[in-house]
């Protein structure tokens, strides 16, 4: 349903442009839950907004295609995009306090998107608004409330309800749980999954919390410094991470049941995207870096059911060594 190929996003600066997202490929099938994971600043939010065509200057898509239900979003005009927006694809943002208009009521914000796309009568709008609020467990009386009058969790759920107003095929979510405490996080995720099963929409979910999303996602993508470094079915990536970065991420989380193991983080910090390291972008921090990693930029290699951007998995090597554990 969604096919992204070679998507590149650049930020114009006073000097050379900064490539925030480089050559990303992404596939989302109908009803699929795709998780995109990475550190802050790796470009995952930029990727998301690029897909939703919500970037503003100085950011711009400079290459690639985004084919959504047969149409290439990159080449569409604003008018054509507006026809698609919310009906087929909606967005849930990180902080509902910032994403909802602070001076109009919740109901008014539901109404304006309904008026923009459908010919519903006021009664029909209210009926549908009530319906979606009930779906997320909010009392419909809050249609009259203002965003600041709701709790953080309620606001996020209201935002999700709004995104489901037209039962779109795809809902894009940018870290919707990051602003919540762990308990609220989990209950929100469970709710999202339930709604997804019930209504059948696909989800692209961006987060920095790998363990959270891995319980719910079908597909998992790991991003680093603007590139996808690993992609594949969640179980595969989680159980047998092929890229040293994913491995590092997973090893940073303690297992609640297993034996006590010393935690290892990933030393160093993410690169400055204005001056990315040569060769593999992860090599300065990689515990198993090889000399050629500094010179060659690895493409995505197939590793079983997944793909990884690491020279360790180059076909020529497969016969030479095993992936060190």
């Amino acid at each position: 349903m969604l096919e992204v190929r070679g998507l590149t996003v650049e930020y114009a600066t006073d000097s050379a442009p900064v490539v925030a997202v480089k050559s990303v490929d992404l596939d989302v099938a109908a009803g699929e839950f795709v998780g995109v994971v990475g550190e802050s600043g790796c470009g995952k939010s930029t990727l998301l907004f690029a897909i939703a065509r919500l970037l503003s200057p100085p950011a711009a898509i400079t290459a690639g295609s985004i084919v959504f239900k047969g149409h290439n979003l990159v080449t569409m005009t604003e008018k054509q995009l507006n026809a698609l927006r919310w009906r087929d694809c909606s967005v849930v943002m990180q902080s509902a306090m910032n994403a909802l208009n602070p001076i109009t009521s919740i109901g008014a914000q539901f109404r304006d998107v309904a008026d923009a796309h459908m010919d519903w009568s006021p009664a029909e709008v209210e009926e549908r608004s009530t319906e979606v609020l009930q779906m997320v467990g909010i009392d419909p009386i809050h249609l009259k409330s203002y965003p600041h009058q709701l709790s953080g969790g309620m606001r996020q759920r209201a935002m999700i309800a709004m995104s489901l107003l037209f039962t779109p095929d795809l809902v894009i979510m940018d870290e919707p749980t990051s602003a919540l405490d762990v308990v609220a996080q989990r209950s929100l995720m469970v709710q999202i999954k339930q709604l997804q099963r019930r209504l059948g929409f696909a989800v692209v979910f961006v987060t920095h919390d790998m363990s959270l999303v891995s319980h719910f996602s079908d597909q998992l993508l790991v991003m680093y410094a603007g590139l996808i470094v690993e992609a594949g079915p969640t179980r595969t990536v989680f159980d047998t991470p092929a890229h040293p970065y994913s491995r590092g991420l997973l090893e940073a989380f303690p297992s609640i049941r297993g034996a006590r193991t010393p935690l290892t983080g990933i030393p160093g910090s993410p690169p400055d995207l204005a001056r990315p390291p040569g060769g593999c972008r992860f090599h300065p921090r990689c515990p198993v870096a090889m000399p050629e990693c500094a010179k060659i930029e690895p493409p995505l290699y197939t590793v079983g059911l997944a793909q990884a951007r690491c020279l360790l998995h180059a076909p020529e090597r497969a016969s030479l060594s095993e992936v060190p554990s």
Binding site: F49, A52, L54, S56, P57, L81, N82, A83, L84, R85, W86, R87, S90, V91, M93, Q94, S95, N98, A99, L100, N101, P102, I103, T104, D112, V113, A116, H117, Y146, H148, Q149
Partner: protein, 329 residues
Amino acid sequence: MRYVVRRLGFFALTLWAALTLNFFLPRFMPGNPLQALRARTQGRVSSEALQQMLTSYGFKPHQNVVSQYFAYLGNMFTGHWGVSIGATLGQPVRQIIGQALPWTLGLVGVATVLAFLLGSLIGVLAGWRRGGVLDSVLPPIFVVTSALPYFWVGLLLILVFSVWTHGWLPNDFNYDTSLQPGFSPGFVGSVLQHAVLPGATIVITAIGAWILTMRNNMLTTLAEDYVRMARAKGLSDRRIMFDYAARNAMLPNLAGFAMSLGFVITGAILVEYVFNYPGLGYELYNAVQNTDYPLMQALFMLFTVAVLLALLLCDFAIALLDPRSRARA
């Protein structure tokens, strides 16, 4: 409701402070103006009128300061503002003010509101069309125009449109003095004609600041998440610009408008002076020239009340527009 009470409280407190300042100033400044007052009017104003005026200012030498003060406050509130001792000797201050007030309201009031509304609208458009012609050329121009002195712009306009065109647009007074005041088209036309240059002066100098602040607020607002959300929802440009961006960007502007009223009054005084426009500012100037203390003090109080009223109105407008401020109160 508590919000209303708090604002009214602030209003009352500030008014009281201004009146108190007005009361104590003459007593603390060098040169004892009250003696001068008596000396100036010796023989020309009847001693009863003089006494009444002095007492309306709380000046009862045999009474202590405290009761003088309260008498003064009482007089201020009941409109016993005394008698002018300036060029129009003996004329009740209330009458002078009553005559001048409508002209100032009409000219300065209308021009200022016009500058604010027009400036805000242009600011919204300039901010919306980021990077367009409006946005890159205009801001520097308006930065400069907003720093121009009111009176200088007035002088320039007089030079260009009145002196060089030999009187095409009048630069003096508020209407042709040979005409009879009334609602006849001739009179109204004359009034409008005389209001063009002074009104234009105010609009030209004041509009720049509004355009710039509104534009800056718009740009900050447009960077907010809820604007991006509105785009994600596929709302029309006009909807986003007005309902989401402008309505939010307007709020600090309204607050700023209230703060700026002190400057508006400054401008009003200078413009009326330059154009000999018989409004309250002109009267203040005359009062100063003629050391007409009663008139000066009454005008000062009036100006304070005007600013406070406008502040109150803006506050209520903000409360109406922004549900968060209602909650904060």
